[in-house]
């Protein structure tokens, strides 16, 4: 249904990304490519795979940002970005064919590649750059939330999660029902004040990001940093040495 579901989805499956521990390793990006190039949207075509202008279909991409505060404090933040499975997904409402749709049962936003005409309008409508046009196939593709993995009864439980989530080495990615306040992901989001990207765009994303936590760095807060008190302030520490000569220290 390319008009958004009339009744709000029963579930809101989505991702939670913890920027406090993401090290920007790109694992979630390449494993996404690996799973999905043989999955629902197969293939995730690559053009010029061995030459100039190498490019391809990726559902998940890792950016690195730097921030600079007025006090001159700067930090580096790694920032993975994939489809946020928005509640009010403009990519869905602009679609003329119904190929782009949001599922009522779990809120996942998918593309039906069998009827997509490749007009690219949905990729214009998505503020987050989460839609990927496959030049050779002439259709739009996007993060499927690994719909053919998370429900897959042929996989053991540990594999029954989005590829990017189960592979993240630092554990920066979580997955679950963000509608149900009693779910563990919802609790995680509540506790860490998870936020949505570009709320002003009115897309109501399901995915949440967790801000880096305050640095345990006293210089920023405490102008008179702690320091050890010296038992000996001579230039060569001779007094201490003398003291140790007969001292039982063990």
């Amino acid at each position: 249904m390319t008009s958004l579901p009339k009744t709000a989805p029963k579930k809101k499956l989505g991702l939670v990304i913890d920027l406090d521990i993401c090290v920007g390793c790109h694992a979630c990006a390449t494993i996404c490519k690996e799973w999905n190039t043989g999955a629902k949207s197969a293939p995730l075509t690559d053009i010029n795979p061995h030459g100039a202008g190498q490019d391809g279909v990726w559902f998940n991409r890792i950016h690195t940002f730097e921030t600079q505060s007025n006090e001159g404090l700067s930090r580096t933040v790694h920032f993975p970005r994939s489809c946020l499975h928005c509640d009010d997904a403009p990519c869905v409402t602009v679609c003329p064919t119904g190929a782009s749709y949001k599922r009522e049962e779990d809120g996942i936003v998918l593309v039906n590649e069998d009827i997509c005409i490749g007009c690219k309008l949905c990729s214009w409508a998505c503020p987050y750059g989460a839609r990927e046009y496959d030049e050779t196939e002439g259709v739009m593709k996007k993060c499927t939330l690994c719909v053919d993995k998370i429900y897959n009864e042929n996989l053991p439980q540990m594999s029954r999660a989005p590829a990017c989530v189960s592979t993240c080495p630092t554990g920066a990615r979580s997955f679950g029902d963000l509608k149900d306040p009693s779910s563990d992901v919802s609790k995680l989001v509540a506790a860490r004040e998870g936020y949505a990207l570009m709320p002003e765009q009115g897309t109501n994303p399901v995915n949440r990001y967790l801000l880096p936590r305050p640095k345990k760095d006293r210089t920023a807060v405490d102008q008179s940093p702690r320091q050890l008190t010296h038992e000996d302030t001579s230039t060569d520490g001779a007094a201490l040495l003398a003291r140790w000569v007969d001292k039982i220290l063990s």
Partner: protein, 317 residues
């Protein structure tokens, strides 16, 4: 946004085609059109021609043109779908009018009404086209009233200039009736366009790198590393960059070619030229105006910043 030729042609051609039909139907309604089959054929052929080639070019650049028919299904929610549906529907009154006029050489009674209905639907179709762009919130430069207005006004403007040229080509005096409306729409067009440009240059920011990443509380956000060292689909499709200086240059060109020159020329042609001179003068005017519109439309895409670029180093949109 990447200024694709197909889309530039699509919007200009259909705009002019529908505009042209609007004026023909209006003249017909007031019984001002000679029931001359050749004239009717030429005029409508140009109008239909522009519309059809325009729609075709937009269809052919699709990934799956053969599936284009599926685009009618989502008229409830999608402006692109609505545009498709309207385009088809509008062909009904337009065609009836054309058949009656060209084949039966009739432009009386009910046919005039049908023509008028076609004219109105033509404008609605142009409006739906404008909404394809105006409805996209992620591109603030499009998501505003001026987008819609300029599409409508420029359609009527280009349409009437064309109408004048054709009518004059057949040596009909009715061209005079079109002179003032044309002038009015050229002026309107210029005003609307200027207001559009002022709007996009002054309107308050919608999104910023800070809101896109949510990292604003740490200070100013800048891109330290892009996900890929080479350009990807997003950058190719939406990362089109154009320098402010360059844009201003093009604005001047648009103002001159699309508006000022045509404005002067039509008066010159109508008053101080006669016969073939006038005909060619007006045809030239129409062409110059169209060229101006190509610049206008190119800029409309090229200078529109997409929110996704906030993840690729853009500071604000």
């Amino acid at each position: 946004m990447h200024p694709a030729k197909s889309v530039i042609y699509f919007t200009i051609a259909t705009g002019a085609g529908y505009g042209l039909f609007f004026w023909l139907a209006l003249l017909a309604f007031h019984g001002l059109l000679p029931a001359n089959k050749i004239f009717a054929f030429t005029a409508l052929a140009i109008s239909f021609g522009l519309i059809i080639t325009g729609l075709l070019s937009s269809t052919l650049h699709l990934g799956h043109p053969k599936r284009a028919w599926r685009a009618f299904s989502q008229w409830r929610s999608s402006w692109l779908s609505r545009e498709g549906v309207m385009a088809i529907l509008t062909f009904i009154p337009m065609s009836l009018f054309a058949i009656a006029w060209v084949l039966m050489g009739k432009d009386t009674g009910v046919i005039r009404i049908i023509g008028l209905i076609g004219a109105v639907m033509a404008l609605i179709t142009v409006f739906t086209t404008s909404m394809i762009y105006a409805s996209i919130k992620a591109i603030p430069a499009w998501h505003n009233i001026w987008t819609k207005l300029s599409y409508l006004v420029l359609s009527l403007m280009s349409g009437s200039i064309l109408a004048m040229a054709i009518v004059a080509a057949f040596g009909y005096p009715q061209a005079y009736h079109l002179m003032h409306p044309t002038a009015v729409f050229i002026v309107l067009g210029l005003i609307v366009k200027i207001l559009y440009w002022m709007h996009i240059l002054t309107s308050k920011l919608v999104s910023t790198a800070e809101s896109a990443t949510g990292l604003g509380k740490f200070g100013e956000v800048s891109l330290a590393a892009s996900p890929h060292s080479e350009d990807n689909y997003l950058l190719k499709e939406m990362g089109y960059q154009i320098a402010r200086k360059h844009a201003t240059k093009i604005r001047v060109i648009v103002a001159v070619l699309a508006f000022l020159v045509p404005l002067v020329l039509i008066f010159v042609c109508m008053h101080s030229l006669g016969g073939t001179g006038r005909t060619f003068g007006l045809i030239a005017t129409a062409l110059i105006c169209m060229i101006g519109l190509v610049f206008e439309r190119w800029l409309f895409f090229a200078e529109a910043k997409h929110a996704v670029m906030l993840f690729y180093g853009e500071q604000k949109v």
